[in-house]
């Protein structure tokens, strides 16, 4: 058992209001720079939709992630070996139009326009070329089902559905959507790291944050292709790749990443998961329908004395182990089994988990009259507007029973709470729903609390940084004191 610690995340999709505040927080801090305008390390997608960059989920196009290869896995498109062969030609790389061409407006025209018959207006100009441009795409072009014929109806996950089922999803009685905020998953088996010919990408030992060393990046862009989530971006101005850094400078000072901190819907949770690094290869290569369960297996019980002992042996600080015990992510993912990884079939073992959204129940339309009724107060999950197959394609590599399990558990919590607050539902109905979902009253109340009432401190349990660890790496602590602030990026060279 090789115990390591990973800062992990849960996004509760029922709570996401699609406000993009998270994206703005991130953009303002990290990517408001030349060459980075088109990057949204945090982006929010509407599902169904094709996302950003468009159709990123379709690895037939982008060749990202790993594929199973016997008892192991290999990179789908941009292995070091394949990549080197394709050194000057990387056909699977997304181009700017797959993201969008960033723009601004020629505001000056409002002031300088010559006198005319009518009012001046500021036209869009490209932030890349400076020329007038026709805006054709954006970072969330299909927000709220915008352009549904071209986007929502082309959603990759619809492939799992029949034509008739797909059509039904866009009728009044069934139509729905939900938001899917995305950041880098800081994977346990990161394809980006594996693909980099320069070894510029690394996973930090203390918290598993995946970073690109800007000094070492040589513009291969293999990571851009390799990341199946398209969360590594190429800066055309600096010639380096960049990605989400999970706001590590904030984490190190005990603050939640900006997108977490600013989240209006309070959908985000952050905490430590302990995992067994010995199992990565084996788990990454199990058959698809077992992927979710297998991934759960890799995460360890932070209360298990053996796990604690091994963790300590690996140099994991007691404070980190304590954080793992209080981790809201651990609860959602391991204990309550409510949160699922996004596209586990990409086999990168992502560390961002999603609680799927319970959407309005289906309705019927006959003779133009719309009815939305159900026998019970809330319908059964089978009446969910989104087909379970669709959700399974997103979160369980196609395993629908796993999705149904989660939805039933979420519903059981609601039934229980209605019993507590109003008490008008049939007791037997509630208890049978709860036993089927394997939640008792205490668990249901705890889920309710962490979902609806949790404070900042309950949502973000950040392991304290141990600055002594970085100090230990130095020979002479005095050498680095005061360097920053005097304008030196590196230590001044003293002789040879």
């Amino acid at each position: 058992m090789d115990v390591r610690s990973q800062v992990s995340m849960v996004f509760h999709l029922d709570k996401c209001i699609g406000c993009h505040t998270c994206s703005i927080a991130c953009k303002n801090i990290w990517t408001d720079r030349k060459g980075a305008e088109y990057m949204w390390w945090n982006n929010v997608e509407t599902k169904p939709g094709t996302g950003y960059p468009t159709k990123w989920e379709d690895q037939e196009i982008y060749k990202g992630g790993w594929e199973k290869n016997g008892d192991s896995v290999s990179l789908k498109g941009a292995g070091k070996f394949k990549g080197l062969k394709n050194i000057f030609h990387n056909p699977h790389l997304p181009v700017l139009d797959d993201y969008y061409e960033p723009w601004t407006y020629k505001y000056q025209d409002l002031f300088t326009a010559p006198e005319g018959d009518d009012q001046p207006t500021a036209r869009p100009v490209s932030l890349v070329t400076g020329e007038h441009m026709d805006v054709q795409a954006g970072p969330n072009w299909d927000d709220d089902l915008g352009g549904s014929p071209d986007y929502a109806r082309q959603d990759y996950n619809l492939n799992q559905l029949s034509q008739a089922e797909q059509e039904a999803m866009f009728q009044l009685e069934r139509m729905t959507f939900f938001y899917l905020p995305r950041i880098c998953n800081h994977c346990l088996n990161p394809a980006c790291v594996a693909s980099c010919p320069s070894g510029a990408i690394y996973k930090r030992g203390e918290d598993g944050v995946v970073l690109i060393n800007q000094e070492r990046c040589r513009a291969w862009r293999m990571c851009v292709t390799a990341c199946p989530y398209k969360k590594s971006y190429y800066n055309w101005h600096t010639g380096k790749s960049e990605k989400c850094v999970l706001c590590y400078p904030r984490l190190e000072s005990g603050q939640a990443p900006a997108c977490f901190h600013s989240c209006v819907g309070r959908i985000r949770y952050l905490g430590v998961l302990l995992y067994d690094a010995d199992k990565i290869q084996k788990i990454a290569s199990v058959p698809e329908d077992q992927l979710v369960d297998a991934q759960m297996d890799i995460y360890l019980d932070p209360f298990d004395p053996e796990v604690i002992r091994k963790a300590q042996l690996n140099g994991i600080a007691d404070s980190t182990i304590e954080a793992a015990q209080k981790s809201p992510v651990y609860k959602f993912v391991k204990v309550w089994k409510l949160a699922l990884p996004l596209h586990p079939e990409f086999r990168t073992l992502p560390n961002l988990f999603y609680v799927p959204a319970l959407l309005p129940t289906m309705a019927t339309v006959s003779n133009g009259i719309y009815d939305s009724t159900s026998k019970s107060l809330w319908n059964d999950v089978s009446q969910n507007r989104l087909p379970m197959k669709y959700l399974a394609s997103l979160f369980t590599a196609g395993n629908t029973s796993k999705i149904v399990e989660v939805m039933k558990r979420l519903m059981a919590v609601r039934l229980h709470r209605r019993g507590v607050t109003v008490g008008d539902l049939n007791r037997n109905e509630i208890s049978s729903a709860m036993s089927e979902a394997q939640v008792d009253a205490e668990t249901a109340d705890a889920i309710f609390r962490l979902t609806s009432l949790a404070t900042f401190d309950e949502r973000f349990v950040i392991p304290p940084a141990h600055r002594e660890e970085s100090i230990e790496m130095l020979e002479n602590t005095g050498d680095v004191k005061g360097n920053t602030g005097f304008g030196f990026k590196e230590r001044p060279a003293r002789g040879l």
Binding site: Y105, T121, P124, G138, G146, S148, Y370
Partner: protein
Amino acid sequence: MSRDFSMVAKHADQWIPCHAGSDGAFWMGVTHVILKEYHADRQVPYFMEYVKRYTDCPFLVELEKEGDHYKPGRMLRANRISKYKDIENGDWQLLNIDAANGRLVCPKGTIGSRWAKEKTGNWNLKYEDFLDNSAYDPELTLLNQSDDVYQVEFVEYGLKKTALRGIPVKMVETIDGNKVPVATIYDLAMGQYGVGRGLKGEYPASYDDDKQAYTPAWQEIFTGVGRETVIKFAHEWAGTAEITKGKCMVIVGAAINHWFHGNLMYRAAIMAQLFTGCNGVNGGGMNHYVGQEKLAPVDSWSTIMAAKDWVPGNRLQQAPIWHYINSDQWRYDSNQMDYNSVPKDNKYSQMHSADWTVMSVRNGWMPFYPQYNKSNLDVVKDAEASGAKTDDEIRKYIVEKLKSKDLRHSVADPDDEINFPRNWFIWRGNALMSSAKGHEYMLDHYLGTHNNKIADEVAGRLVSEIIWREAPKGKMDLVVDINFRMDTSALYSDIVLPTASWYEKADLNSTDLHSFIHPLSAAVAPVWESRSDWQIFQALAKKVSELAPAHLPKPVKDVINAPLSHDSPDEITQPRMQDWAKGECEPVPGKTMHKLVFVERDYTQIYNKFISLGPNIKSATLGAHGVSFMADDVYAEMLEDKRHVQKVNGVEYPSVKEDVEAVNAVLTLSTLTNGKLNDRAYKNMEKKTGLVLADLGEGSKDVRIDYKDLQSQPRRYNTSPLWSGLMNNGRAYCAYTYNVDRLVPWRTLTGRQHTYLDHDGYIAFGEHFTTYKPSPTPQVYGDIRKTVNDGKAVMLNVLTPHGKWHIHSTYGDTLRMLTLSRGIEPCWMSEEDAAAIGVKDNDWVEVYNDHGVYCTRACVSARIPRGVCIVYHSPERTYTVPKSQVRGNRRAGGHNSFTRVHLKPNLMTGGYAQFSFHFNYWGPVGANRDTHALVRRMDKVEF
């Protein structure tokens, strides 16, 4: 409940896509089920007790004979029967029947008891008779003890039908010896909603009867929502309310408020709440998220804002009326009865909205400035020159001149040059775009610039009160915009005064709903030449004072036409709706017409008054909403702090020169942030109501919050009698809990929540009952009279809801948010409608009608149903507006280019209890949701 599958619908358990504008019909159906199953078939005790105590249901209404049947009329006045004939404010005292003995009683808590001068301290909701304090038990229904059952006419505007329904009545002997039939409002509500209870008449046979209002089957016709859904919804609603004692809530945004019949839609939803006891209960109630940007410390703030500390009179205008008249939109409006469903049997319902406005202003119902076709100052001078000495003599003079039409109200002749508003300061609003219903009309008649309206003027032959002249262009001489961003209003202004943003100044932020008061603090200095609003107005005041010696060196007397105001005895001045100009009564200022208030103006002292807190605070009460208190001692305390004192002409005043000083003055003088004053205000309320209330302020008695306190952390403010939500011991703010828990009356005619509105104007317009009126059709509404569809366009109902990250256009027009919004404010339309006109996603389209045109890109989406399109509120002309093809290659406008103001007359009434003017509370809305436009593809896009 929303026409489109919206960002909110996504979070719901059930989505109900009722047809746009039909929400009221849905709620009518819901309430039908509630009344049938929870009131008639089975009486839920909690509901019964609630409607008895907190609504007007037990009050008596006179039935008026018409042919062989009866019509519901006004409430029976107490002074009409012998026992109460001499009762104080007898026209405003109303009657119930005591369930114990069948006798008439006169409940406390009515508006008559509120303004009683002799028998004070009885304005409360106890079950006690106003005259003799005897206890009684209000009778809700006469079903089992009626003298007779009369056939009463109920009008239904959806199918345009009347029904005669049996209503149990009692005969009451009046002082003139007649016997008049009366019914309880509760029984009439049953009649209105069509719940038969075994009575004879045209009651619906069942929920499935779609011929009779207001069954679940009937509402299907208008909403497109199935009866089963309505029935189930009603069961869930009432079932939950029964168990939880009223914890059912409606949360609504601005949308409903913007329909022509928005008032009826609101009322329809509120009825479901009243009949299930949901208002004034934490977890229940009507939460409308519009207009909530009210400053919570309104007692002190309004004093300083309106300079009442120096001058006890002000001119505050109701905006939709003002723009309707001044921007000449009325000229293009046909008679409202063409598109408003109104009874045709009375003269009031047949008047053009412009005539109604004139009538409303002269009778003191609504304000309108400028006032006269002569300077106010000159009017007073003329009066004095003709020998008038006292205020009353001047009043007499003015009344005579108005009567003889030697002096005219400006509102009656808005296109005479003398009446033009000349200077327009747009302060922070975006009055020329986001809120400018009828934007293109403003461009023409205010600014005299290029516009895209093609509508014909149609009002000429329809009006008689307002004078018809040739339409002037460009009435405004000077437009000044005070703003921190380049919006459309700034684009059109002569002068832009840049103001500091939220992070560049000291200021306060609060609303009545969220119970916290927040500071704004300067994180950075105001950029470039910008200043805080307070400093900008101060600079203006200074300049005026500097110039005054040359122009108006001496103090002058000004006369203010002030409307009859809510929360004052003005609201019991007009028991009947009468128009003095038609000879229906004599014009008496402050009684049958607006008030004439005199103030002294000294323009040389404006600046001095601006920077110092005036002496009126020593001598008069502060307050709001009928709550008042003295703050003389606090004023004296403020004077002791010599760091913050202004010496003006040798006298010391508390200083409000600096922003922080003004902020602190607001905080120091408000009940919300000064516990001593709060205690005082509660004690005054105790005197008014005869109730124990001061305990509510006990826990906050020593609270004193100042700006520094807020800067360290926003504070929750005191529970105060200014607002109706009780927040003691951490309780969440919920409106009307003060009334429900403590029996303080609502500020209405009966002192209860009204299900029936017996104002003459409401009866005239058929809105005395909550009812459903269908949305106006585009032709009669005037949207699409001249605009012709050549077959390449589709006609859609254009909805302009708030966008998800806009406050109007603020925030929405930043580069970041535009990047997340396709770079434009698109026109969302359904896949089907787009296909019908060959539009693909992101194609350029024109959205146009008689008023104007907006050019934008289509956002084609399955979540939009056929027949409607959405342009989120609000675009700006500042970015990406191409030239319109349908308007000959001239620049298009914004979302208000295709709207025009329509005023609903009965929302302009006044002098009658809750229908009395209160700035920002009472008056008609501009109504833009009923708008239709054609949408077509652009094949050429030019800038």
